[in-house]
């Protein structure tokens, strides 16, 4: 019997703990497929965040380190400086990367640290039960913005890809979404490029992945996808924000 579909080798057999309809599973799979296709699983060292993906170290088959909240880029920097020949990546959510870990994110990018960051933006703190994130949209209701995010008192969302693309350090910054098959394919291509850049020694790459959180958004998985398309993409436009390959052409 011909095998038409199988789990990537870079994923372990551990069952995901993610909620039904959460796109973390898709993103894990994309990263694992890229590790497989580039043949780098045995050479890769991943860093897990604090957030819903905290147990990513159980899901990826490569060596993994679990970082403190927000510190994954610093941990990855330490690893990369010890093993410059290895492929080092972090997998972080929006609270981890864009709130508590903003300094580590910005400075690893500014250093052009030769690592790859997969950044899940779902506009909410998932693991702790749905609090306002730095990426929460204006007006969005969360546990800690129960009347909708009021930008006058609760501030504005941060557009990480746009912000980091102003720096000289990064080699590749792109925003993708996991809402449709074509977009998922584009997401995979972006993730692959972000890893390939590291292998080629081009420096810091970050892929911002617009994702859903049906549970904490209070929506069905299908409705969640619609919200991503209707509310998130207009605020967080998809595309490549920085690519030194284009600049060098």
């Amino acid at each position: 019997m011909a095998i038409v579909f199988k789990k990537p080798h870079a994923l372990t057999d551990a069952p995901f703990h993610y909620c039904p309809g959460c796109t973390h599973g898709i993103c894990h799979r994309l990263v694992a497929e890229v590790l497989d296709e580039l043949g780098i699983e045995g050479n890769a060292i991943g860093v897990a965040p604090v957030g819903c993906a905290v147990m990513a170290y159980d899901y990826f088959n490569c060596d993994m380190q679990e970082a403190a909240h927000g510190r994954a880029p610093a941990v990855a920097t330490g690893i990369k400086r010890v093993h410059p020949d290895k492929v080092v990546f972090t997998y972080q959510g929006d609270g981890d990367l864009a709130a508590i870990g903003t300094a580590e994110t910005v400075h690893s990018a500014a250093r052009g640290e030769n690592i790859t960051i997969i950044f899940i933006n779902n506009t909410i703190y998932g693991m702790t039960g749905g609090q306002m994130a730095p990426t929460t949209l204006p007006g969005q209701v969360t546990q800690t913005s129960p009347y909708g995010r009021d930008i006058k008192t609760q501030g504005n969302p941060i557009r990480i890809s746009e912000m980091l693309s102003t720096l000289d350090g990064p080699s590749y910054i792109a925003r993708v979404a996991l809402d449709t098959v074509p977009n998922i394919k584009k997401a995979k291509a972006a993730i692959k490029k972000a890893f390939q850049n590291q292998i080629d020694g081009k420096g810091f790459s970050l892929v911002e992945v617009l994702s859903t959180c049906p549970t904490n958004w209070g929506l069905s998985p299908a409705e969640a996808i619609k919200r991503l398309q209707k509310d998130m993409i207009p605020y967080y436009p998809l595309g490549v924000y920085k690519d030194i390959d284009d600049e060098n052409k």
Binding site: E41, N43, Q65, A67, A68, T77, R81, A103, V106
Partner: protein
Amino acid sequence: MSEKVLMKGNEAIGEAAIRSGCRHFFGYPITPQTELSAYMAKKMPKIGGVFLQAESEVAAINMVYGAAGAGARAMTSSSSPGISLKSEGISYIAGADLPCVIVDIVRGGPGLGGIQPAQSDYFQVTKGGGHGDYHLIVYAPNSVQEIVSLTADAFNKSEEYRVPAMILGDGTLGQMMEPVDFDSVPEPITTNKDWATTGTGLKREHNIINSLYLSPEALEKTIIERQKRYDIIKEKEQRYEAHDIEDADIVVTAYGTTSRVVESAVKTLREEGLKVGVIRPITLWPFPVKVFAEAANTAKAFLSVEMSMGQMVEDVKIAVNGKAPVYFFGRTGGIIPTPQEIIEEVRKIAGGLK
């Protein structure tokens, strides 16, 4: 023996670390430890090592976490307020059983405090600082020469037990120059780091560096396993220097810079005919309880001299265990006790003993 050179304490830590095989140093500027970072910045690139100035103390300690988890001998250094910031990372490093060396050149606190020498972070470094049941092996050198040997020991012991180690000094020790040679640096030990994240090469199960255990049973098991190592350390690694305690009526105890002042005071007191002995803890954790317990069988009183409002004195009391009164004298805020102050304090205690 090689020729002695003059070096600042901070620079001697750097040179000793390099000779102990440290090739990864992650720093962040703070007075009064800056010379160490500057030394590493100058030396590391020339020997194929890494010096990286992080964006914060928080980032620096997490770089150490990453580097140590990846199998390297890694170091970071700071001073009191910076150690407070690093405490999060130190707790994670302890929880993930990673070896590394952290340098704390203590200054006055709390808050921004001052930049002059202090010992007011004894509690922080021996009783926690970060969260959870954990310990650091804490070495408190009192000369530039001793800095060299203890830095090397810190790397070796840290690796042997997979427990982070700390070199605790203060501005005086870090800034002063004394003659030093590197003959006494022990060879770096090699341990099998089969737990490190070096890439599986698809030849083994993946390694995970982690401190998260969602099952309380699993977490308790790791803590108890670690506690067993702590117990071995407490049994085997207590270090101190003591003299004249056999016939001493009064035992004066101090560590680091303060112990130097105590030596000057005790010299005068013994010339006066007072029976005064000295115990200088070299490891603050494990605290050298055995020598105190033994001295307590004969000594009539103990005096702990510190640059704090009284922190180590609590451990002295625990070790003496009620067998003799334990007195305290301290200056703080960056003031170093004078020999005369200590002499007067001892005379006062001696007067009360008669």
